[in-house]
């Protein structure tokens, strides 16, 4: 085997601002042409590891280094971030924030401009990479006009133009819908092979990355590497679940069906998975599970009839939309970006006025009610809690809505304290909001809405950017609110796990109306809808299809078994 292109030797790193080292005694060799996935829960140090590779450490994030990191033959202390960027191309998590040019062409050429290349050379290189990444038509477009997937392709072109042989992706799937995520992983695979690249992907969504072959899976925890092997070996040992990471759905299904993992070959690649008698085993399991009747919710809470809206009335975004949301339901709202999910919310919350149609909440028409009046009954929670927090102290933040409504101080104190207890934030009530983690901030924003005692909550991507532990905590909390207080919860999401595991009803928006309104298992096994809503086939669907089982039934039974298993875990 040739010499490693990246080599960590007993490497530790501590940020100046931290009291503990973030990376501890890392030993890791990566060889030319390898495709490595680095996974681990938030705070495990995987992003820090990435920063050591691309030179942001120590240049932008100074700290204490021990041991050594060698990248493409150069020790990290001996090369500047600029030298390093020629060896390692980095695609950051949020393609939007990585986009520096006013147009696609300028962004792609950005690093060449900094190298003072002549214009002709820049134009030629830009044209070449635009062709490779299918961006030629978009060269004169501005970032605001691109989809998430297109922005990521621009970011990739912008680093590939340097001809770096190492490509580093920091959570490339975080801001993409499932369909774009899948396309993006396929593109990375193609480039890895055609340009002979070494690729390092930092991501906690293991299943989505494994849609394409991965040579090695490195799992980190508390600043250390706890597993470093072929993905198949790690999956077979069921290490992921133990380490607080999400297992691929098909793997859970195999376990539910009692398939011995030792008998499986190609466990990391579903299309090539071979297990003796798998079809019989899966069918036996499916036949053995009885689907229970779902809990029925039939007390209408929000009734929308013939809703119509468009900024330009000739081009309606919402076109004759009718739907009824019932009390106590847990709903997921899905659909491609730009199909009017936020428009629908803005109509419900009163920021926009419909051109036709009626909305009734709890029997009362919404039309005459102001934004503030509607907010007393329908709470809307943004994806990014930092966009909602406006006070420095937690108590004040949660109390703000009541203060503005002129509620007396004693009542405010009682209600705020009660809500803080429900949200598990009571001990923090005198803390500044800035001291909280992302997940805790999110809870504060939910508390600030709950204190107004709404009957319905709308949450935009409530679990985005959170690892399995925080995700589970957040969803357990929301499920509890939903069950115990009968609050109707609508989640706007692209996350198919979230839809399957936690919601009972999925509404698919598209073409101004509702494309489908059914159980998540039905939606996620409908090929046409999957395509129209930028979703992707889950591995469960593929597994069922390959083994002649009705996918909808299989997925529904999986979801039921999974929820029961989770309930047992919570109770114990």
């Amino acid at each position: 085997m040739s010499a490693p292109i990246i080599s960590f030797k007993d490497f530790s790193f501590q940020y100046h601002s931290q009291s503990e080292p973030t990376l501890r005694h890392i030993n890791l060799d990566i060889y030319p042409g390898e495709k490595v996935l680095i996974a681990g829960p938030s705070g495990c140090g995987k992003s820090t590891l990435g920063r050591c590779l691309n030179g942001l450490i120590p240049q932008s994030f100074p700290g204490k280094l021990t041991g050594s990191v060698t990248v493409a033959g150069t020790e990290m202390r001996a090369s500047s971030i600029f030298d390093r960027s020629l060896a390692v191309g980095t695609v950051l998590q949020d393609p939007d924030s990585q986009f520096v040019g006013l147009t696609v062409a300028e962004d792609v050429a950005f690093s060449l401009e900094n190298d003072q290349q002549p214009q002709a050379a820049m134009k030629a290189a830009t044209a070449k990479w635009a062709r490779t990444l299918d961006l030629t038509e978009l060269l004169s477009h501005r970032p605001q006009e691109l989809s998430g997937g297109q922005k990521q392709r621009v970011a990739m072109a912008g680093v590939l133009i340097d001809n770096s042989k190492i490509l580093l992706f920091d959570e490339p799937l975080a801001s993409l819908d499932p369909a774009s995520g899948k396309a993006s992983m396929a593109l990375v695979e193609q480039l890895t092979r055609s340009d002979n690249l070494t690729v390092i992907i930092i991501e906690h969504r293991i299943e989505d990355v494994l849609q394409q072959p991965i040579d090695r899976l490195v799992v980190m925890q508390d600043g250390q590497i706890v597993a470093n092997d072929r993905p198949e070996t790690i999956l077979r040992q069921s290490l992921l679940a133990q380490l607080g990471l999400r297992e691929p759905l098909y793997l859970s299904a195999l376990k539910f069906a009692g398939v011995p993992l030792d008998s499986c070959r190609h466990l990391d690649r579903l299309p090539e998975l071979t297990v003796p008698n798998l079809t019989a085993q899966l069918q036996r399991w499916t036949n053995g599970v009885q689907l229970k009747q779902p809990v029925r919710h039939d007390e209408a809470l929000l009734t929308i009839e013939h809703l119509q809206f468009g900024y330009d009335p000739d081009r309606p975004i919402i076109n004759d939309l009718s739907v009824t949301l019932n009390r106590g339901e847990m709903i997921s709202l899905v659909g491609q970006n730009g199909t009017g999910k936020s428009t629908l919310n803005n109509l419900i919350t009163g920021f926009l006025t419909p051109q036709a149609g009626t909305m009734r909440f709890n029997g009362h028409p919404l039309a005459g009610q102001s934004v503030k009046e509607r907010a007393d009954q329908i709470g809307y929670i943004l994806q990014d809690p930092n966009q909602m927090l406006s006070k420095t102290m937690i108590f004040d933040e949660v109390a703000a809505g009541l203060v503005l409504r002129g509620v007396d101080e004693v009542t405010i104190e009682q209600r705020v304290n009660r809500v803080l207890k429900v949200c598990g934030l009571y001990e923090f009530r005198h803390w500044p909001t800035a001291a909280l983690s992302f997940g805790q901030k999110k809870r504060v924003t939910i508390a600030a809405i709950l204190v107004m005692q709404p009957a319905m909550l709308i949450l935009d991507e409530p679990t985005a950017g959170q690892d399995l532990k925080h995700y589970t905590e957040m969803m357990r909390f929301l499920t509890q609110l939903n069950r115990e207080q009968q609050i109707t919860i609508m989640l706007i999401t692209h996350d198919m796990h979230l839809m399957l595991e936690y919601t009972d009803r999925t509404i698919v928006l598209g073409n101004g109306g509702i494309l489908m309104d059914a159980a998540p298992a039905d939606v996620l096994t409908n090929a046409t809808i999957i395509e129209q809503a930028s979703l992707a086939k889950t591995s469960l669907y593929q597994l069922a299809e390959a083994h002649h089982i009705d996918p909808t039934e299989f997925v529904a039974k999986f979801v039921q078994t999974d929820r029961e298993a989770r309930k047992c875990n919570t109770n114990s």
Partner: protein, 279 residues
């Protein structure tokens, strides 16, 4: 068009669009400086006429700029009135003669032809550069701004911050809208129904999260730029920079001649003022 930014750039397919941004910036800056220095009415009138003719060629529609123009006219009038209020005899002291139109020499607020003439010159100076500025802003591709600034000698780091600002204005606007909606939902009344003071206070509630999210943006963007070697060299090249063509040299030559004429007039007039009152 893709470039519907604040300033309303549009490719109007005129020769002005085809001039390089640097040429237009140099011409604008050069003429502005000489125009600000001179008080030669004939010269100012000539440049004013020239800039109006060029403006006509630029095919910029009046309604696209009517708002900016009304603001500029408003401020100019206010300024002229204030000049008269504070120094009603300044024209007399410049031109050395006194031709009374209203009042007598003893009155503080009298009106002389000299004062009117002086203020007319001021008006010309305020307005002659406006068509030029509009031409520069509305016929130059925003992508070319940074390159043009850099070319006339401003450091590329500062020049690029202009480009970054243009890049992020729409994003910050979107952030502002989102935050504003979220705050309104919590009961901050921001509509016209609310008292002005309440609205101002509501605005501040939005500002805090907006500043934090913008700071986050800046941090990420500066990392992204470093990772692609921004700041490595003393210079950088520009993808969108336009090479000087024949017309660019021609335009620069014409403007240079105009500036030279302006300077020559200083000599002829024996100073910055042209005095028609001198016999």
């Amino acid at each position: 068009m893709q470039h519907q930014l604040l300033i309303g750039y549009d490719d109007r397919h005129t020769f002005l669009n085809r001039l390089s941004g640097s040429t237009k910036l140099l011409c604008f800056v050069g003429l502005s400086i000489i125009g600000m220095m001179t008080y030669d009415t004939r010269y100012l009138l000539a440049i004013m006429a020239l800039s109006l003719v060029v403006f006509r060629f630029s095919k910029i529609k009046y309604r696209d700029v009517s708002f900016v123009l009304s603001v500029i006219v408003g401020f100019s009038v206010l300024n002229l009135v204030m000049v008269y209020v504070f120094a009603p005899h300044y024209g007399v002291s410049i031109y050395g003669t006194e031709h009374l139109l209203l009042g007598t020499s003893d009155h503080y607020f009298n009106l002389t032809v000299e004062q009117l003439f002086y203020e007319f010159n001021l008006l010309l100076k305020y307005t002659f550069a406006v068509p030029l500025a509009l031409i520069f802003l509305m016929t130059t591709n925003p992508s070319e701004f940074a390159a043009s600034l850099n070319k006339i000698g401003i450091s590329y780091r500062i020049s690029y911050s202009v480009a970054i600002a243009l890049r992020y204005i729409p994003d910050v606007q979107a952030d502002y809208r989102t935050i504003s909606l979220a705050q309104q939902a919590r009961g901050f009344e921001m509509s016209k129904k609310a008292h002005l003071l309440t609205r101002v206070r509501g605005g501040l509630q939005i500002l805090l999260p907006l500043i934090f999210s913008s700071l986050d943006r800046i941090e990420t963007i500066s990392q992204a730029m470093e990772l692609r070697r921004f700041g490595k060299g003393k210079k950088r090249s520009w993808y969108m920079a336009q090479r000087f063509k024949r017309n660019d040299y021609l335009a620069l030559a014409i403007v240079a001649v105009l500036i030279l004429i302006g300077i020559a007039l200083f000599k002829v007039n024996g100073g910055r003022f042209w005095n028609p009152f001198k016999a």
